[in-house]
């Protein structure tokens, strides 16, 4: 049963990440490849706030949200002026720089050794020590984040994001500040992902930089793209499918070492085939055109 709760936690975390990344990729049309860096910023910031500054878990979530959004603004201001391939390249560059900071700033992050012994978070006086409790809490977190993205998308600001995505010049001619709209979407996406990252740190109890690599960022992008970008269903479906897929390989009795590579072959091919034959993904709305 513990295994089922574990899967529940992982699916919830990735649903939260996918829905917040969807604000950037799906609703704003920005293919950002540094989401794992924000996930990592969230994990490290909340852990350091709890362990070194002795904040409560709830307060650290707020701090993480603010900190990650501010870092996203610093990254977004230069990157968002670039278009298409160059925006993707800039976010790739920032992903590598942030990974390098997590890896090399040993005084703060303990470098490649990571931070062990993270205490289980306490929420409303309940210690989230058992997998069942953690699953419930992370599901609630995913639901709050999902609900929040839904509110944003349905608000006038959501329509503005889609307008800037579909025709930047037309939006600008109506007096809309496209840079501000994109920057806001980028910052919100980063902040929400960081919250999921904080829950990841509290669950894993140990974090090190290797969980926040370029490949992890590409995996997050694949979740949104394979599931389908531009609506609520798509990214959620993508998270469920791509997180549970490797577990299916486990039941087929495929050895662990091979399964890791096989899983990546499968999702790489899925990405290619969806782009060739169905750019909207399994259940998405936006086809990157």
């Amino acid at each position: 049963m513990t295994y089922v709760w574990h899967l529940g936690v992982m699916v919830s975390l990735y649903i939260a990440v996918a829905l917040s990344l969807n604000l950037v990729i799906g609703e704003s049309g920005l293919l950002s490849v540094c989401q794992a860096a924000f996930y990592g910023i969230g994990a490290y910031a909340s852990t350091l706030l709890v362990m070194k500054a002795h904040w409560s878990f709830g307060a650290s979530i707020i701090g993480t949200l603010v900190f990650a959004s501010l870092s996203a603004i610093c990254i977004g201001l230069p990157s968002l002026r670039l278009r298409g391939d160059y925006f993707v390249l800039a976010t790739l560059g920032f992903q590598i720089i942030l990974y390098s900071v997590l890896y090399n700033w040993a005084d703060l992050t303990n470098g490649p050794n990571g931070i062990p012994g993270i205490p289980p978070p306490r929420v409303f006086g309940i210690e989230l020590a058992s997998p069942y409790r953690y699953c419930t809490a992370s599901f609630a977190m995913a639901a709050v984040i999902g609900g929040f993205t839904l509110v944003i998308v349905r608000s006038p600001f959501g329509r503005l994001m889609q307008a800037v995505r579909d025709n930047e010049v037309a939006a600008a001619s109506l007096g809309k500040n496209w840079l501000l709209v994109r920057l806001t979407a980028f910052a919100i996406g980063a902040g929400l992902t960081a919250v999921a990252g904080a829950f990841y740190a509290g669950y894993a109890r140990y974090i090190d930089p290797t969980s926040f690599t370029v490949m992890e960022s590409i995996f997050m992008v694949s979740i949104v793209v394979v599931g389908g970008a531009g609506n609520f269903r798509g990214p959620a479906v993508g998270a469920v499918v791509l997180v549970l897929l490797p577990e299916g390989l486990r039941f087929l009795q495929i050895p662990e070492a091979i399964a890791a590579n096989l899983r990546q072959v499968v999702y790489g091919m899925a990405l290619v085939l969806f782009m060739l034959f169905r750019p909207k993904g399994i259940a998405g709305k936006y086809g990157f055109d």
Binding site: P78, S79, R81, N261, G268, V272, M275, F288, D289
Partner: protein
């Protein structure tokens, strides 16, 4: 110390230049941000490793085989993935995502066949040669010699030959080129073949120098892309200059700051260039040339 670092850097720059020129050849002509170029490199590296280590083919045959496999994979990607997208007039985002997918699928297929660990090539003699104040290994000299032998004729061909003129015409304006009777599909196939062959050459040299690693594709390609941007998008000689500059800056960073920050500094340079000098170093000159022509 610094001179030695610079010499090592320039030897590395030769590998980067091979990758960067291949990428630029493809990007300038087709506007496809071909990240799967990194997987062509990985596949060619393991083709060479398998031919030389497992099959014990003679050196010359193994190198030819590796370059041929690289060329084949590059052309297969163009024919099976990019061409259909081109016919659908897909957006650049779709090309990029396809490229990401191909990269992941290919390098992990290689990892399934050969394992995830680095395969070091037992080189027969790692003899060092001293040239004045610097000490270079035989393989580093081979890297420099090979890249000159490969890149110099390519640059001349791109300037002088008929094929070079066609490629430059497609680079400048694909629609106009096709209305004057240029077969776009065959030019695209040609640049994919040539670019992938360059990646194959770089891969063989890298296997001899540091060994084969399935995860090395993206890092190697990204440094090459930095060199392309620094050198100037649109220029064919720019990436070579860019590779040298990136290597020099990396050497200085290693010397003055610390080796562990060299990656962060490289990508910092990339972002600075994209914002403040998006045309790169040779980008502007190309425009003047166009005016003169």
């Amino acid at each position: 110390m610094l001179v030695q670092l610079i010499a090592n850097g320039l030897a590395n720059a030769c590998l980067t230049a091979l990758m960067a020129t291949g990428f630029a050849l493809i990007y300038n002509t087709t506007r496809i941000f071909h990240l799967a170029h990194g997987s062509v490199y990985v596949v060619a590296a393991y083709a060479y490793y398998a031919a030389a280590q497992y099959l014990h083919w003679p050196q010359f045959v193994a190198v030819t085989f590796a370059v041929a496999v690289g060329t084949f994979v590059g052309c297969a990607i163009e024919l099976l993935a990019y061409s259909p997208l081109y016919r659908k007039q897909a957006s650049t985002t779709i090309y990029l995502l396809t490229s990401f997918g191909l990269y992941i699928a290919l390098i992990n297929t290689v990892a399934l066949l050969f394992g995830n660990e680095v395969r070091v090539f037992p080189t027969t003699q790692q003899s060092a040669v001293s040239l004045g104040p610097v000490l270079l290994t035989g393989i580093q000299l081979l890297e420099v010699a090979t890249s000159i032998v490969v890149l110099a004729p390519l640059m001349i061909l791109l300037r002088k030959s008929n094929w070079g003129r066609l490629i430059r015409a497609v680079r400048d304006n694909p629609t106009l080129a096709s209305t004057t009777g240029v077969n776009l599909a065959s030019v695209r196939r040609f640049v994919f073949a040539a670019g992938s062959a360059l990646a194959g050459v770089a891969a063989v040299l890298a296997v001899l120098d540091v060994g084969a690693d399935p995860q090395s594709g993206l890092p190697v390609l990204l440094i090459a892309i930095v060199a392309v941007i620094v050198g100037g998008i649109g220029s064919f000689g720019g990436p070579i200059l860019g590779s040298m500059i990136v290597a020099l800056l990396q050497s200085i960073a290693i010397w003055q700051i610390s080796p562990k920050w060299s990656q962060a500094i490289t990508f910092g340079i990339l972002i600075l260039f994209m914002i403040f000098r998006p045309t790169g170093l040779l980008g502007i000159r190309r425009r003047i040339e166009e005016v003169i022509e």
